[in-house]
Assembly symmetry: C2
Homo-oligomer: 212 residues x 2
Amino acid sequence: MAEYVLHCMAQSGHSYKVALMLELCGADWEPSWVDFFNGETRSEKFRAELNAMGEVPVLDHNGRLLTQSAVIMDYLAEIFGKFGWSDDDERREILRWTIFDNQKLSGMIGPLRFLRAIARTGETDVTKFLEGRARGALAILNNHLATRAFATGAKLTTADFSLCSYLYYDGEYGIDLSEYENIQNWLERIKAQQGWKHPYDLMPGHPLPDAA
Amino acid sequence: MAEYVLHCMAQSGHSYKVALMLELCGADWEPSWVDFFNGETRSEKFRAELNAMGEVPVLDHNGRLLTQSAVIMDYLAEIFGKFGWSDDDERREILRWTIFDNQKLSGMIGPLRFLRAIARTGETDVTKFLEGRARGALAILNNHLATRAFATGAKLTTADFSLCSYLYYDGEYGIDLSEYENIQNWLERIKAQQGWKHPYDLMPGHPLPDAA
């Protein structure tokens, strides 16, 4: 077994944050597929044994379990000495963009993409609501990236892994990024990192089997 | 002028997180009212001078500006030596519940309460969506609090300030907490802290003026 086992599935942007970081750190890791689409994360067994919050990712590091992408990335930054912070001000700047992402970017684009590409509800007041909120967050991030290479400045950090994750699922969330030029350029900069892979090439479970 | 000036308004649960902490720390602080309901947070001036993310709270500490409730609370925990963490594991456990709150609890109850109590849209598919998500988060928190006094264990921390905030706006978000008994008891424990005040007694701007 690898040193790090990431419980995840290919469609999870939150899992991708951690998978990408593990890959870029050159960690000895492997994914363990979670059957989200048949309710595994919401099962009593999953909640009891892996994560009471009923969600992926969960990282198993030699038997020690960690949950929440931001928490896992902070832990990995400490171990690998990469993509983290060197003082409390830098740590808080990473935190500022990580929370922004979880609440306003991934927090809105994640459910939007689920409704549009997976549940396929068609356009509803809910998709409109989520798209409006997501676009507000994209505009803020796009402005912010006008004067910086990465979310917190010149250095790639865990805040970037958090913010970029769902945006790589092109064509699934129904927002064309061409009007957010700084975001597009930033996504290319992350893609250019040695070892970068698309979520569907990094985690198992894609494509979904056809509905029976 | 006080040492700490908190740009906020009474209806902002995210501002309340910080206001409550300042009060319980016995800080020399004062609120500075932000006219959110007439668009102040979304104005160019506000974005340029106070917060590019276009939101409250913003803390001014002797001219140094900090934004995002989680970031501000982390900063205050360092200064006051209260409600924070003593090692990295504890710091990450606080982070885990703070992110959970921002994404899944405040992140859903905040907009739900806005639509129900302030925008007064009536019941829509969007309020149903947000209520469903908020109830999922409340159930997780309620289970978690079955065996602990506070979010991360025996000690009151900034994670509690984050999680509790919107829940004190009783009757405004349209979810009856009586089915979440552990949450109710935990809210009472926080209320019992020396110096606790309701958001409407801690920040200006309540009640709203009648619409013209």
